[in-house]
């Protein structure tokens, strides 16, 4: 958490095209939920440097093999990155249960 904002990290192979597009889609789809969030994106190889910052990690399903989820870490696996609504609903579930202060 960053004040009353939740930190969401998007992960794809090179941390450019696909994670950017995910971030854009989710930014829009989160608005109706009134969730205050900081969003960043990076590659799997550079994920560790932002891992402590992130409250929720949104990652492509093909990259999750061998990923060890830490205690207190929330991970959302994504199949269709254009499904902003579906991913945002999962973000909302996590926020309501664990980070209610991030909701306006």
């Amino acid at each position: 958490m960053d004040g009353n904002k939740i930190n969401i990290l998007f992960i794809c192979g090179n941390g450019m095209g696909t994670s950017t597009m995910m971030e854009i889609n989710i930014k829009k789809a989160l608005q109706p939920y009134g969730i205050r969030a900081n969003l960043q994106h990076t590659s799997l190889g550079q994920m560790e440097s932002l891992r402590d910052w992130a409250d929720i990690i949104v990652i492509l399903k093909n990259l999750t093999k061998g990923l060890k989820v830490r205690e207190g870490e929330h991970v959302i696996e994504v199949v269709n990155i254009m499904d902003g609504k579906g991913i945002s609903a999962k973000v909302n579930d996590i926020v309501e249960e664990f980070f209610p202060e991030a909701k306006a």
């Binding site: 794809c12 192979g13 090179n14 941390g15 450019m16 095209g17 696909t18 950017t20 597009m21 971030e23 854009i24 994106h41 990076t42 590659s43 799997l44 190889g45 550079q46 492509l60 399903k61 093909n62 990259l63 093999k65 061998g66 696996e77 994504v78 199949v79 269709n80 990155i81 254009m82 499904d83």
Partner: protein, 437 residues
């Protein structure tokens, strides 16, 4: 007064970073972004561009002494095939003209929008939104036209933009049906560097299916293969292996000499680590330059042509079939290594070394397509064939770039088939006019 104009035209605007910074600033002002966003966004993009130029030049200068030493010892010129090698080579070749890339990019996007806007007649549907690949296309096409045709600079920029725009509209549109099938109506198509390849392999994969079609997703792959999903590790390992093999004609003594007297193994490990570091620098630069580009272009598309199909980064299809993506990577590597062996056996004066990008971002997606249309057997055959096509296609593309100092060229499917074909056809058509170089 003249001094001011002179400064603006000859000093200020010839610096690519400043030219591109001004164009980005204009973009923010047009979007009414507000002063904080406009200033921070513009400077961020300019710093990103400098990171790209720095990472690219370091990428080249790391490989240069190795390529020179092997060339001297064997007569073979080595090139790296990777999107970032193409980025580095084309921006070095363009020099002061690098900033023109921004005009090419904008013209290409406008042409793409127009072709889709008039889709009733052109049948084009896809809008190319991938900023990281799009900027690379713009600078690569610009250099190819400059290197092959003697035409005035304004015409060069316009022709490059039109060609890239047509490629974007056409390639993303023909790939749309197969992407729709893989993603179960996911609502997007691929706009990257291999979408024509996805269409092509989508057509041939059904013919390669075994009698009992086996789905890769029902297989259990060993867990250690996940190492190759990690771009930082993967670049390091691939470069260590391939550059190491490429250096082998020098012998231990030769490599020790390259290392300035240091240990040969430590030197090769450090080469792998350094390539990976320069890749991280490049990626960070592209991220700072292109993230908001993608967002604003998607905004323009949704405003002007809401029913167009967004064409996005190819990695978006990998989660639909993770195992096929991994197997695609492996068999694309196999096909590439086989082709390198053939190049060596036939005494080719050119050798190409694969980077991470064509193996992961062409091999993986073609694996996903082949699995959907023909199962495991099709994945094995298609991806091996892909590696072969990309390797020989890159040798073909390298023959057109007229830049011996290049660190390499793309190696991605479309850039090693469709693109060299366009240049070859243009050369034939334009030669009678006496403008072919």
């Amino acid at each position: 007064m003249n001094a001011v104009v002179d400064f603006l035209v000859n000093d200020f605007l010839t610096e690519p970073t400043i030219l591109i910074g001004i164009l980005i600033l204009v973009g923010y002002v047009l979007q009414k972004a507000g002063p904080v966003k406009a200033v921070t966004g513009t400077i961020g993009a300019m710093v990103g561009l400098q990171l790209i130029i720095f990472g690219g030049s370091q990428f080249s200068s790391t490989f240069k002494p190795i390529a020179d030493a092997v060339s001297e010892a064997t007569g073979i010129s080595g090139y790296i095939m990777d999107s970032y090698a193409m980025k580095a080579a084309s921006q070095e070749a363009l020099g002061d003209r690098f900033g023109w890339m921004a005009y090419v990019f904008l013209i290409a996007f406008a042409v793409n929008l127009l072709l889709v806007f008039f889709g009733k007649w052109t049948h084009a549907k896809g809008i190319f939104l991938t900023g990281n690949a799009g900027t690379a296309h713009a600078q690569a096409m610009l250099w190819l036209i400059i290197a092959n045709f003697a035409i005035p600079s304004v015409a060069t920029i316009i022709i490059s933009g039109i060609l890239v725009g047509i490629y974007w509209a056409w390639s993303t549109t023909i790939a749309a049906p197969i992407i729709d099938e893989i993603t179960d109506g996911g609502g997007f198509t691929v706009g990257h560097n291999q979408q024509v390849g996805l269409w092509f392999f989508g057509k041939i994969a059904p013919k390669l299916a075994g009698k009992k079609q086996m789905d890769c997703e029902e297989m259990d792959l060993p867990g250690w293969l996940a190492i190759f999903n990690n771009n930082v590790a993967s670049v390091c390992i691939l470069m260590f292996v391939f550059v190491g093999a490429f250096c082998s004609p020098l012998g231990f003594d030769g490599i020790t000499e390259l290392a300035g007297g240091g240990n040969w193994l430590v030197y090769l490990i450090m080469i792998g680590v350094q390539f990976s570091m320069y890749m991280v620098i490049l990626l960070q630069g592209v991220r700072m330059l292109c993230s908001e580009l993608t967002e604003s272009f998607q905004g323009i598309q949704q405003k002007l042509i809401p029913n167009a199909i967004p064409a996005i980064d190819v990695a978006a299809i990998l989660p639909f079939s993770p195992n096929a993506a991994t197997l695609g990577f492996l068999f694309c590597t196999l096909g590439t290594v086989l082709s390198m062996g053939i190049l060596l056996l036939i005494g080719s004066p050119v050798m190409v070394l694969p980077g991470f990008t064509p193996l992961f971002f062409s091999g993986g997606p073609v694996g996903v397509v082949a699995n959907k249309k023909g199962g495991l057997r099709a994945v094995i055959i298609c991806c091996t064939l892909l590696g072969i096509i990309q390797t020989f296609g890159t040798v073909w593309a390298l023959s057109q770039i007229a830049f011996p100092g290049a660190v390499g060229w793309s190696g991605m499917f479309d850039l090693s088939t469709v693109w060299p074909a366009i240049i070859a056809v243009m050369r034939v058509v334009l030669t009678p006019f006496g403008i072919t170089i």
